[in-house]
């Protein structure tokens, strides 16, 4: 899940009694788990919120290609190179499905890309961290894709049909991505002392930012209640974060590396791991644009887009010429 702090444009939940007849019928269908489809009537706020959420997710896939793409030319074996290229390519594919899902809501891909480039819409905070070593590619697959799956599996059941269906495809591929990340970590942890140190260092740097991916604590998550009522968010940030910690700690144990959290311990009474306080000021700062790579990531996207302008223009011009040729032939 790469959407954080999605603005729903509403300040408080309304009961069925406060809704217009159309809204009430809409909410009742959602409550009955009937999927909303592109041509169905929907409240403007629902539409706007979904566009924001899906587009944040799509942009995250595309920007997310950059930190891992950074290691394609330096992958340590030909097989690892092939797997990484295929993985980053999948992310491009996810971006495509998601832009297409957003387009069913009446926006164009170009508009959405423009929003990204102008800084009007965010992508996940996690991609503003650098990939400094090969182990970071492993850590991203293991932790970042792991966190993403945790968030995305419930979205396969979300109320908006085109988004839910895109999510089903995406989740299948993400679980492969997570396995390849863990496999990289496993090879490093079973390798030389230096390799294991790379793995530990990557975990140290990626652990807390991965926990931040789930968004602010429930108490501070102002838009969650509305998104939950609309069933475009099915589990709370804190619930998902706890699930992720519970799933991931034993995996780190298996690797023989340690989470950088002195307060992490099993709480037998709760049946969950307790973990230390997250530095939310870091999260807020990254969202504001002050993460280590915010400027570089956006600049790389803008450059690719601007450098490609002549290619896109030429493709359009050529298609127009061909269409004209066909038209001329019909006239004769």
């Amino acid at each position: 899940m790469y959407a954080q702090l999605v603005d729903t444009g509403t300040s408080k939940l309304r009961s069925l009694a406060d809704m217009s007849p159309e809204e009430r019928a809409f909410q009742q269908r959602i409550d009955a788990d009937v999927k909303v489809e592109a041509k169905d009537w929907m409240p403007d706020a629902y539409r706007r919120t979904l566009v924001r959420q899906i587009q944040q997710h799509a942009h995250s896939e595309i920007v997310g290609m950059l930190p891992e793409g950074n290691w394609i030319t330096r992958a340590p074996t030909l097989k690892r190179k092939a797997i990484l290229m295929a993985k980053v390519q999948d992310e491009g594919g996810h971006g495509l499905y998601l832009y297409a899902a957003a387009e069913t809501l009446g926006v164009s891909r170009d508009q959405l890309i423009d929003d990204l480039h102008a800084g009007r819409v965010k992508y996940s905070s996690i991609f503003n961290y650098p990939t400094l070593t090969w182990a970071d590619v492993g850590a991203i697959g293991w932790l970042v894709d792991g966190a993403a799956i945790m968030n995305q599996i419930p979205l396969c059941r979300c109320s908006y049909g085109p988004y839910a269906r895109a999510m089903v495809r995406i989740c299948k591929e993400e679980s492969f991505h997570q396995r390849q990340g863990y496999d990289i970590m496993l090879a490093l942890c079973n390798g030389t002392t230096e390799q294991k140190a790379l793995a530990q260092d990557a975990l140290n740097r990626w652990w807390w930012p991965s926990l931040m991916m789930f968004g602010p604590p429930d108490a501070d998550s102002v838009h969650s209640a509305q998104s939950a009522q609309w069933k475009i968010k099915l589990l709370s940030n804190d619930e998902l974060r706890q699930r992720f910690v519970d799933q991931t700690v034993p995996q780190a144990d298996h690797l023989g590396i340690t989470m950088p959290d002195a307060d992490l311990k099993w709480d037998a009474e709760r049946g969950h791991y307790d973990f230390g306080a997250i530095d939310w000021s870091e999260f807020q700062n990254v969202l504001k644009g002050n993460g280590p790579c915010n400027r570089e990531r956006l600049a790389a996207r803008v450059k690719a887009w601007d450098d490609g302008a002549w290619v896109r223009e030429a493709a359009v011009a050529h298609a127009a010429k061909r269409a004209k040729d066909r038209g001329d032939r019909h006239v004769h």
Partner: protein, 269 residues
Amino acid sequence: MADAVPPVAMTGDDALLDYLLRLGDSDVVLAQRLGEWVGHGPVLEEDIALTNVGLDLLGQGRMWLTYAGEVEARSCGRGRSEDQLAFLRDGGAYRNLQLVELPNGDFAATMVRQFYFDHMHLSLLRALTGSADARVAEIAAKAVKEVAYHVERSDDWVIRLGDGTSESHMRMQQAVDRLWPYTGEMFAVDAIESALIETGIAADASALREPWLAAIDAVLAEATLTPPTGEWMQGAHGRGGKQGIHTEHLGHLLAELQFLQRAYPGAQW
């Protein structure tokens, strides 16, 4: 440069090893170049498609290099793995064409490089499906299906960009002209290839030039681009990439490709 010019009278498995490196290295080096585009393509669909071509080439390169290692084992008792071959040889021991090691440049240069290479690659692989060496024939048969698609895609882009806007036309004409001198090497046959052509293992690359020219010219014409006429060809006189003589660019490419294996010798990944 060490290993730069192989002995002229190489025969048997030594010659086959060298030939397999020529095939595999060009694939791996071009895949490496295409890998640089990932995340930076002009449009998302093209980003994905370029990666696809890169992945195909990487897969083919791995098959050639793996077989090269087996031939090496057969001939001298100890063969290198695909990774030892890719990551632990210096530039002078690389046998790829100079064309594929040239930097990506803009999308026009990338596509023209691909266009020149793909057309040769397809006819070479088609010829190799009839190789007297069963493994060579088998690998070529697998690769030929993928490369047929590469040709279609490259032709399509050359035509769209050549006959697109005035800017795209200008960029394409420049790329067509600038890369032209690197095409001659693809069809140059040296003593090593001659020996293998005689035994029916290698394809006679010199025989592929005329059909290649005809195919290229037809596409360039449709793209409203002018076919280059320059006769001077880089590396085509027995002193090219296939003999281990490269441009300045290969060293940098290998420095990046080989970094981890060099920095952590002997580690398993």
